[in-house]
């Protein structure tokens, strides 16, 4: 399942994911946004595995990782990534 989401006034987010039993089984987040430190993206992807398929849950999980990693996301927000995931879920 895939999506491409252009953040209004921001960057592009691309999602590729697979499901198992209505949970996220694997996910990759791509794009031309900025995230400091950069290795935070893998932590976000890892945190989303096993998540229930609700946009608010995605947003919360991403926000938690950003806070714990003292990370800065630029050109997209946790809500934008959550929306991109939501779009991917509706892609098939």
């Amino acid at each position: 399942m895939k999506s491409i989401y252009k953040v209004p006034g921001g960057k592009l987010i691309k999602i590729q994911l697979e499901l198992a039993d209505d949970l996220i089984a694997s996910i990759q987040i791509f794009g031309d946004f900025f995230l400091h430190p950069e290795d935070t993206l893998e932590i976000i992807e890892h945190a989303l595995i096993g998540a229930r398929l609700e946009e608010d849950i995605f947003t919360d999980l991403i926000e938690d990782v950003l806070e714990q990693s003292k990370a800065t996301l630029i050109g997209a927000s946790p809500k934008d990534i959550a929306q991109a995931i939501h779009l991917a879920l509706n892609s098939e």
Partner: protein, 238 residues
């Protein structure tokens, strides 16, 4: 890219001063942002047959075509507590991109910084920039377009050939420009380089002393080229 990272390593050890570089890419190359998918963004078959390198940067942002005949890349590497890099990342882009704005002014071109990471002239992008903060340093590198080869750019980036229409090309020309297009003459690399040198010195209130890589940096560059920047493990990691 390997040189930039080697300098960061060395600076973290306190062995290298704040460093500024200008360079061109020979052969021409495409670099993608650290979070982009190489296979999704770049036509690697076209790159192979056209002798164009394809590499992943350690910075975010989008894909950039580094045309040997049409582009200068700069990089600035400074300790993270340096006066030129406030904690606010957008603010630091604005400060460092001031060097490009001043360089263009020296060349008779009025431009401005457009957040997040662009410098624009008459609403069109002429320079894209990207930053990373690691190894106790800030690296900002960016591209300044001297010339624009839209057809080659589209051939490198994964745009289906049938979509490379005149309309698409004119759309890009509405959003991106180059110094030669703005000035309407054959501006030389030397003029751009000299303007960048003076623009960065004035805008950032710095002076630049010519230098070479240290022996340690040179060894590190070789290691990084062999173990990272030439490897699918890095370049195709996403």
């Amino acid at each position: 890219m390997a040189i930039d990272e080697a300098i960061m390593h060395s600076m973290e050890e306190g062995l290298s001063p704040p460093t500024f570089r200008f360079y061109r890419w020979n052969p021409s190359a495409v670099s993608i942002g650290i979070f982009q998918s190489m296979n999704d963004e770049v036509d690697l078959d076209y790159c192979r047959t056209s002798n164009i390198d394809a590499i992943r940067r350690i910075t975010g942002g989008g894909a950039v075509y580094h045309d040997y005949e049409g582009e200068i890349t700069y990089s600035i590497i400074i300790p993270k507590n340096h006066r030129l890099v406030p904690v606010d990342i957008i603010e630091s882009y604005k400060i460092l991109c001031g060097g490009i704005v001043d360089a263009l002014r020296i060349m008779g071109i009025e431009s401005s910084f457009k957040p997040i990471n662009d410098v624009i002239v008459n609403g069109k992008k002429v320079s894209g920039n990207a930053q990373t903060r690691r190894y106790s340093c800030v690296l900002q590198h960016g591209t300044i377009l001297l010339d624009l080869d839209v057809r080659t750019m589209f051939s490198i980036l994964k745009v289906p050939p049938e979509k490379i229409s005149d309309k698409m090309i004119s759309d890009v020309r509405d959003r991106v420009t180059s110094i030669r297009e703005i000035r309407g003459d054959e501006v030389s690399f030397e003029e751009l380089r000299d303007a960048l040198y003076d623009g960065f010195c004035e805008s950032l209130d710095i002076s630049l002393d010519p230098g070479e890589l240290t022996a340690e940096e040179s060894v590190d560059v070789e290691v990084l080229m062999e173990t990272k920047y030439s490897m699918d493990k890095w370049n195709l990691s996403r």
